[in-house]
Symmetry: C2
């Protein structure tokens, strides 16, 4: 598009990487198109709260075009990118149209991966989008409802057994919160069942949960989970999931609710680039986050994989995605004024995981702590990073009420199972 | 069930009629089962606010078992009643089970009716449940998104044309709020379209909108709507609705968003009773709200029709449903102590309709007013009747913010079109 005065940057994905890149270019001589499949930016760290009925969807999401309304160099479009033509500098869309670009940032994130067991997807939903969260919320709440209505003792037990596959941060959050719901939130509301007898299992194939934390903290997290009533089974690889339950090797567990927090895979868009991917489908980016052979194409966030100097990959967490988005913006600005690209360096501020009411672990490198203090630290950090003034107030209010009353305010079943 | 010490009342439907009946029997020697298809009581008067992205689902809904948690004589069950066997005193459920009763209250409400044009349902959703509201929200927000992405001028115009069929209170609320969204909420957020050019049509087959109000108020409402930018067309009967638009007799209007607020029909459950129904499928109840020939079966709320002394039917509004629920509770209590049934009398406190920001009409019989005062009156009345302490605070906060900023906090697209 040589007749256009300013170069055109196309950003695919309005998550942390894409949105932060767009914002960092607010005053740059770049025309930006931000394309996303949905109409909103999602504060993914609190998505498990929607799945467990603590928050409602609008509490943790804001329309992308509202966030960017004052940034006049950005056009937000809702649509789905299906393939990149890196030679022709075009991205094909699902509706048949195509968008041209001078610079491209792919930041469309990751999806659940079932390690070759795609049939498990129907029985064990994962948690990446608001629709996933509403589906999981419906499954959890409906299981208690169906148990109350059931006349069959074995069916009731299966309905009151909840299995979470994957002992990373999401699995731990879901397990801890589910135990809390059963033990406290619902305890006096049923007449035929006692929700406190619900069984919550956290299944991890590796030797310990939260393996990205130091061993001492991961052991503390396990003890906190067990105190909440969660059965933690590390070293337990799931070998089968069906509508009636799951298998752990020889062991069979009857359950009607299996949640998947075990594996993610990059969005299929990466394949169309024709560049090296890792096993999870992530693009192996250059040190400046560009793609080998296509310096004007960048990949950031969960869709990218890059080894740090310490040999470990940059983790798939929100702060890394934001830093990558900012780095791509700086690189594009540099290119426009003829400066050479810099290598991306992940600045690790620390690692947090929350477990439940008053329970969390924090690893700030030298400083490690757990329990109530860690939980308060986590709470403040997450409220602070929530986008939008109203959201912060409403979320705080919801949490304050939930804390004092043990209630969860979004216990509403919407949608239907297919 | 002669071995049970207390008679069993089965209530089908946890709306205003069913819930108020259950509450009124809190201290009565009755065992109550409250059956509902969903898990929540819905504050239906504010449902249009969820459909138009002003409130989120949990703001206007609360789990039935939470509302009734302290009332130990109530068991809440989620399930769907499919047929009544009035001779055998049993209600069949969709899952194959059945529930026996000594007293039965049918209060399962109304559904949209398309007057013999069932194919219109796919193109013109109505507004009765939270799922309906989320579908309408998705349709409205997606229309603006698709208009921004479209390169075709005629398609854009059709996407920015919104038609609401039916000039009753729901149609008026939807039209007024939609005009407000286009004119104010979205005005600076798009780059290729100007949402202020959106066309909002309110189509009413009868001679005037809000025909249950006096003519002077209904004319005032029309002027207020027109000031907000709504085109009101009374005397306009829709003769066709398809995926591309609708016909008003000879007139064709290209639109991608048609909302149905024109007709309701009683739930099919009523037919299985084998008693006289009116044209809309409502049960013609006896003066004490029982069913002819089955004195232990009652019908209340939108599923019932009863002529008042003034010759008009009891209106299908929330206060009437609550009063009917209370009356059925009193009648059952009376029967248990051998007293004769009393005739139900609807106490009409007045009639309110809201139109948009600072616009409403109020008819209290002798006292009639409109505009800002009417809107304030409507706001206070609705906040006051919202169930649950948290909801009131959060809804007030949302509204205060929305009022000052013109923003709507639930502009999140969830779910997918089939």
């Amino acid at each position: 598009m040589p007749e256009l005065p300013t170069p055109h940057l196309l950003i695919v994905g309005g998550g942390f990487a894409g949105l932060w890149a767009a914002r960092a270019l607010a005053r740059a001589p770049v025309r930006i198109t931000l394309l996303d499949r949905g109409n909103h930016h999602l504060f993914q760290p609190l998505l498990y709260q929607v799945a467990t009925a603590g928050l409602s969807s609008p509490d943790i999401a804001a329309p992308l075009r509202h966030i960017l309304r004052r940034q006049k160099n950005v056009t937000v479009l809702m649509g789905e990118a299906t393939a990149v033509d890196a030679e022709g500098k075009r991205v094909a869309l699902a509706d048949g149209d195509a968008l041209e670009y001078d610079f491209l940032l792919l930041a469309s994130g990751a999806n659940h991966a079932y390690f070759g067991h795609d049939d498990w997807a129907a029985h064990a939903p994962g948690l990446k989008t608001l629709d996933d969260a509403l589906l999981i919320r419906r499954k959890i709440l409906s299981a208690f409802e169906r148990a109350e209505a059931s006349m069959d003792e074995a069916e009731r037990r299966a309905l009151l057994t909840f299995a979470i596959v994957g002992g990373g941060p999401t699995g731990v959050e879901l397990a801890g919160t589910l135990a809390e719901i059963a033990r406290h939130t619902l305890k006096r509301e049923f007449r035929r069942i006692d929700p406190r007898h619900a069984r919550v299992l956290l299944l991890e194939a590796g030797p310990r949960i939260l393996s990205n934390f130091p061993e001492s903290l991961s052991a503390k997290a396990q003890r906190q989970l067990e105190k909440l009533g969660v059965e933690v089974r590390a070293g337990s690889a799931v070998t089968r999931i069906d509508a009636e339950g799951l298998n752990l090797g020889e062991d069979r567990i009857a359950t009607r609710t299996v949640l998947w927090a075990a594996g993610v895979a990059a969005s299929p868009l990466a394949r169309s680039l024709g560049v090296p991917l890792d096993r999870a489908g992530r693009v192996r980016v250059q040190p400046d986050l560009s793609v080998p052979g296509h310096p004007q194409v960048f990949v950031a966030g969960d869709l990218a994989t890059l080894q740090q100097d310490n040999g470990k990959p940059v983790p798939g967490v929100a702060p890394a995605a934001k830093q990558m988005g900012n780095h791509v913006a700086a690189t594009i600005l540099g290119r426009l004024s003829g400066r050479a690209s810099q290598a991306f360096r992940y600045r690790d501020w620390g690692n947090l995981a929350t477990i439940g009411r008053r329970a969390a672990i924090v690893d700030l490198g030298k400083l490690r702590f757990s329990g109530f203090l860690a939980w308060s630290f986590w709470l403040v950090a997450h409220i602070f990073f929530l986008i939008g003034f109203r959201n912060r107030i409403v979320v705080l209010l919801d949490w304050a009420m939930a804390y004092w009353t043990y209630q969860r305010n979004a216990r509403i079943i919407v949608g239907r199972d297919d």
